[in-house]
Symmetry: C2
Subunit: 351 residues, 2 copies
Amino acid sequence: MSSPIKPSQKLSPYPDNITITEVAAEAQVSISAVSRAFNPTGSCAPKTRAKVFAAAEKLGYKPNRLARGLKSNSSLIGILMTDFENPAYLSILSDLTSAIQAHNCHSLLINVGPQKSVTEAVELIMEYHVDGLIVTSSSLPDELISACQRRNTPVVIFGHHSRNAPATIVSCDNVAGGRMAADILLDAGYTRPAFVGATTSVSTTTDRQRGFITRLIERGCTEWTTTEGNRHSYDSGYEATCKLFASTDKPDSIFYLDDIMACGGMDAIRYEFGLKVPEDVGVIGVDDIRLAASRAYDLTTIRQPFTDMVNTAVTALFEQIKDTSIEPKNFTLPCTLVTRGSTRAIPTQAE
Amino acid sequence: MSSPIKPSQKLSPYPDNITITEVAAEAQVSISAVSRAFNPTGSCAPKTRAKVFAAAEKLGYKPNRLARGLKSNSSLIGILMTDFENPAYLSILSDLTSAIQAHNCHSLLINVGPQKSVTEAVELIMEYHVDGLIVTSSSLPDELISACQRRNTPVVIFGHHSRNAPATIVSCDNVAGGRMAADILLDAGYTRPAFVGATTSVSTTTDRQRGFITRLIERGCTEWTTTEGNRHSYDSGYEATCKLFASTDKPDSIFYLDDIMACGGMDAIRYEFGLKVPEDVGVIGVDDIRLAASRAYDLTTIRQPFTDMVNTAVTALFEQIKDTSIEPKNFTLPCTLVTRGSTRAIPTQAE
DNA sequence: CTGAAAGCGCTTACAG
DNA sequence: CTGAAAGCGCTTACAG
């Protein structure tokens, strides 16, 4: 309110609305030069760049990413997320955001809740002209993926197989995971295995189930059953397990679609039916969430290499952002068996 | 590749780069009219608006939020998050994002990892000219908050008390929560309570500890101890508990800073020391995460009203965005005791 | 209520 | 390597 600030004495303690124009004036160059100085691809004499940086530093200049995004990249990566119940997604989100930030971009997180369709979500996210899109815990209609590609916005589907989709897919080998689960259960001497899936997640459920059942049959096991929970949640696993044990042919071991369902299931087995894990019922999950290693659950599980999967996804995404001619690829990472106390020890075999 | 598309036959199957200009041409009005039609505050004749909407619909027009944000609001809300270990934050994030989306805005999620300071994170987020900022699981230096306010970017601190900070604070009454915990433990007949906090989270730790200890003293309890875990995690609770029971004066009940630490602690009590919960050791946490209600943990806890807290935070934030003259307020919501099986039943008192 | 015009802050051919 | 100029897609006083 005192005297108007003269252009010469810009020493405000906090960066306010310093734009490229002020920096150009301070450095005594054109605004084009400032822009190029800040842009790695822009040709700029070292001296000029130094002058510009000094001026920017002095004034506390921060580029306006919105303005930049108007002609250039927005530096925004959209993350579509459906499942906020499986704790695995918290660490996935942590890894995703930090990997994206390492590329000097930021994450626009869209909650694709039950009231919002994935199509709407994509439309919304495209209003921000994101540079790329990562879809977790659900898939995307092929036509939507194509529409994104047509706009040169690469799409990565995380965690789902989605064969033939025109996008980069990063998932782990769920069929092999299912087979591993079958082997460990059979090896441990269980004879009546069950599979508990979920309705919401098509490809992961079907792949794991397929690998599991196929392998059971290969090994001559005939007494298997399957059932489905509604969602990827503790409650869902609990309820599905109650249904399973209410029927006449009760299983002696259960392969759950994921760890959080397995935890719910294990609690049902122990507290609802008074059975012992692993003696009466063997339990195995998928993911290897933090809780799986807890003493309370001590869950045998098929570990998904989430950190690797995230790095693969983000690396592939940025490669496609850099060079839009790169064809989408499929990455199927191996999963590994983590043996803990929820399955019986495998008897030593005399070869 | 056939013939160039004439402006008259715009019937492409998917919206591509249709801008306000195309819509204006189609609707035969000026671009100003289109802009006003889409802006609630813009005066526009109903007929004009109808024409514009019809044209927009026909062409599949979607506004470019980046361009809009250059002169107007960005519709972007920044969310700063530090803690990706406590599962409570997954549902908080779910609630936050959907509340923000209900306001037709979207969430820019910044992972304030250990390698990135909160100051850097704020600077980054401000490059996107977010309309508002929500800080979870950590606080913000007052000078940074002031810098944001000076740019008319309101800040809401979620979950921390942070007295005197020039921002809106939404938290629950942690002191009262600590007192409740003391009361339930003493009422149940425990005599040597301990408090397990965490170093990372100043105000919540100190408030809960203060309420807890103050109340213990008020009621004449003298044999209490305190210790600290490093982080808000299962492992941290486990380790802190091991330390506690390695010392000479072992507690007979423990109040943990949060549920996930309590779960780790309970597992240590049971599996590391072979003690019974609640007979030998009573356990109480804070949050009421999903896992607290599991059969395995069945954890007595001080419930934080997260959904209410999120709604309060988002509502307050948008009020301040709408009217920047509104002063920041403090909202302290009540927490409630949820009694489960990890504490002994309270003996019926003959008044 | 409406349109022409200026402007938001930056990028990017285009000459030099 | 550099600057002047046009433009990204939208908003917003300003006249009418």
